[in-house]
Subunit: 173 residues, 2 copies
Amino acid sequence: MRVLGVDPGLTRCGVGVVEGAPGRPLRLVAVDVIRTSSQLELGERLLAIESVLEKWIVEHAPDSVAVERVFSQHNVRTVMGTAQASGIAALVAARRGLPVATHTPSEVKAAVSGNGRADKEQVAFMVMRLLRLAGKPTPADASDALALAICQVWRGGAASRLAAAAAKNGARR
Amino acid sequence: MRVLGVDPGLTRCGVGVVEGAPGRPLRLVAVDVIRTSSQLELGERLLAIESVLEKWIVEHAPDSVAVERVFSQHNVRTVMGTAQASGIAALVAARRGLPVATHTPSEVKAAVSGNGRADKEQVAFMVMRLLRLAGKPTPADASDALALAICQVWRGGAASRLAAAAAKNGARR
């Protein structure tokens, strides 16, 4: 299973592709951060994000897209931009017929570190370990995008197995 | 000047096109509400909104797009969807090279009724009056989209005149 993780944001939008399956080693396919200038109009920033996400989906052919679920934060202006960037990720995925999964930050932290309250450092450390990288991915947005993708590989896999088991069970009745 | 007003929302997204200029009568070109089912995935809903907005821009050829500026509200889930739908409007406008103006709800209310705290009824009444309609546009999302477009025709016009005057003044120096 190949997952494109997106840590949404207007100024920095983390993107990371991870390949793997539950119980098997994970592999880093690609990671980057899409940056857009705050000098640009909102629409231009969203267009730039859309264009890079389209390119990544074509180039890396993920099976699904995982996006961080946005919550209200202290800074209302930031959360609006985050919501808008996450909407673009959902739009691009839907256009390509890809399923989109959303995970909360604590689900992602728990998935990669076993602790839903892990800090950024710990998440970056575990991403490095799990993907057997030489160093921690930076900036945090890149690391978070990879953690999201890992979370989806594992949870998505578990969800698929549960669905398959339920289907099998249903068929037996 | 022809303006497409968008009152963003996932469940109901108001769209209205108004033609006019400051000091001249306004004309209703078109109004509707884009509805998407909450049963659909977020990406599918955003795709549907994108598709209708694209069609409206092609069909009605507005000079600019006016979108309600989203603020934090009580219901975090609603505000996320609103922000995402407004992002799609900004994206589609930018793709077509159209300027996007954002106005706060109180700016819009003040523009059409003289009162920044006017209620929905009063806004709908003034939209009906200003566009010389036989009845109030319904639902409120349709009325709000038209009010946004009217606000932009007037404020955008004033801004253009100020910019033109400033340019003229600058040229004289």
